[in-house]
Point group: C2
Chain length 344, copies 2
DNA sequence: GTGAAAGCGCTAACAA
DNA sequence: TTGTTAGCGCTTTCAC
């Protein structure tokens, strides 16, 4: 009656199949998982018996000798971040297509938790899929020695990986903003442990310089909606007319804060996000942002870890212009500072 | 150099530890995983040696005799749905806290894919966490015979589970709408295979009747943003002044369509969603919706499957009033039908 | 083409 | 308290 009860039926093993089919276990095994090394006649017979008995191979037992489980660990910095669901989706789909499965691990933006997961999962999985891991290269290396691994948005010596084309995205962002007349932009930083954060900052600064626009940076900030108020205030304080956030979560949080604070977007300041997460297209105003190749990246990670090299390790990331960016106000003063004061 | 290369170091086994410590393997095993049955002196010694050698138990090998892996399969109908990330989050957190891990499976709203996952994962995991499974009870039963399972939002004979308090949420929804003067509401249905959809419809209809408001239903609709236009039109066609959607995805899609179509919300019609997903609070207008106990449900599922009964199998779900609902227009005619015509 | 037997790494009787 | 030994279910040499 009660399926949670304890009286679960014993599973039918390959021994049962072999006995019922009147062959040796090795023959049954071959018939099932290595046909071609067995006569068609016995293959068919064993298959029929296995089917009839409802035989399902015990993957754990298969894994012991072979050492391979068909399981891959996907480690994300924060499952809660909608950006990462694209990664999860892509990885799950690609893995499932190859008959593999994904074990999900949430690093919670914490290098120690990350390491604990890698350690725990190590003896279970055939490989690691690391999404912008937060741990230091030195901490990560020993944990990854035992398995193939592939990394997204974090070049790690000796490990294959893919990254988003952050430079291209930054170029488009600055070009767009400069074209709208913005003379100063501020980058609202994400977590310090994020490689993408450093890249974004570096490339934004470089392109800003190229266009002669003043570059500021503020932060770090946790990559969550709740960072909005602090990030917005820090950004406004620089006097910049364009706020470029580490990701959409921060950007949307900024939008919400600005609305409450009576700062018009894009009338007073423009706001740009990153990742183009669910919600970016219908927040208020719809967010100009930079896409993230999340789903392709998820797929590429499983390809990489299973031995297929991607065509190009840098995945496209482009600017999507919506309504949170517009022409710069002719002039802006830093928050609380008299109009016209020097803006550094 | 290249960690994907083939020259991976052989893992240190418990035999290595035992030999190095000068004890029998069973002693080493006990010292590590069943202390108390071994002298403190040897326990410490073995532990020290294991540490020094960098011993990590092979979980697959541990699992073979014990039959338990510490892995639980979480099956969701669609990883892409932000509602489900709450479930994933809760389950992952609770599992991790108990030293367990979650294998994620995406049913893609398809009973066959769902079944395939259950079959594949069966020999790997200690139990199944099923989030509103789409398969029929008859299809599911044989797949769940071998393992404990717990279910969210779908009473399944013999299986423990938790459900959202859909009745309470519907009561609050209808009361809210009736209080605003709405005399007719339409429920924009979700997938036919969803138990929650049936419950929502049934309870909404019952409470509507109690308040003397006319009840319509339209659908089914796929639970995605893209269903918005069709759902909105079907809803408007009934002449109802309040559209209650199966979930927030459909509701937000409806909002977007209505805005494009020039129908004012809540001026012309009110819209209510369900789940309170990320984005519901900042779409335009912010969505009145019913919360889903997603994260608690995720936690409850792992508790249930590991043998802990929850205090109450029905988890609270409440109405959150935001700006997509407002006073009913004194009168409304079905789309395209002359004002004042009978509204069925 | 098929069978016998060893072994993957670990735990759990059973002995001592 | 500790050691010996037999599996867990499967694959895979190695013979025949």
């Amino acid at each position: 009656m009660n399926h949670t009860g304890d009286a679960r039926p014993r599973a039918v093993t390959i021994y049962d199949v072999a006995r019922a089919a009147g062959v040796a276990t090795s023959t049954a095994s071959r018939a099932l998982s290595n046909p071609g090394r067995v006569s068609e006649r016995t293959r068919a017979h064993v298959a029929e018996v296995a089917e009839r008995l409802g035989y399902v191979p015990n993957r754990m037992a298969q894994a012991l000798p072979s050492g391979r489980t068909g399981l891959f660990a996907l480690l994300v910095p924060d499952v809660t971040n909608p950006h990462h669901v694209g990664l999860i989706r892509g990885a799950e789909a690609q893995a499932a297509a190859a008959g593999h499965s994904i074990v999900l691990a949430d690093g919670q933006e914490d290098a120690a938790i990350e390491a604990a997961h890698l350690r725990r999962l190590g003896s279970f999985v055939d490989g690691f899929l690391l999404v912008s891991p937060r741990g230091s290269a030195d901490d990560l290396a020993p944990l990854l020695r035992r398995h193939p691994a592939a990394v997204f948005n974090r070049p790690l010596a000796g490990l294959p990986g893919v990254v988003a084309d952050i430079d291209a995205a930054s170029a488009q962002t600055v070009e767009h903003l400069a074209g709208l007349g913005h003379r100063a932009l501020v980058y609202l930083r994400g977590p310090e442990t994020s490689w993408a954060d450093g890249e974004r900052r570096r490339t934004l600064a470089a392109h800003a310089e190229r266009h002669g626009v003043t570059f500021h940076a503020a932060g770090p900030h946790a990559p969550v909606l709740g960072s909005g108020p602090a990030a917005a205030e820090a950004g406004l304080a620089t006097g910049a007319t364009a706020l470029v956030a580490f990701n959409d979560l921060i950007a949307i949080g900024v939008l919400q804060h600005l609305e409450r604070a009576g700062v018009a977007v894009p009338g007073d300041v423009s706001v740009v996000g990153a990742d183009d997460v669910f919600g970016a297209s219908f927040c208020h105003p719809p967010l100009t942002t930079v896409t993230s190749p999340a789903e392709p990246a998820g797929r590429a990670l499983v390809d990489l870890v299973t031995g297929t090299a991607p065509d190009d390790p840098v995945l496209p990331s482009v600017l999507v212009v919506r309504e949170s960016t517009g022409p710069a106000r002719s002039s802006r003063s830093p928050r609380g500072v008299p109009f016209g004061a020097a803006n550094r």
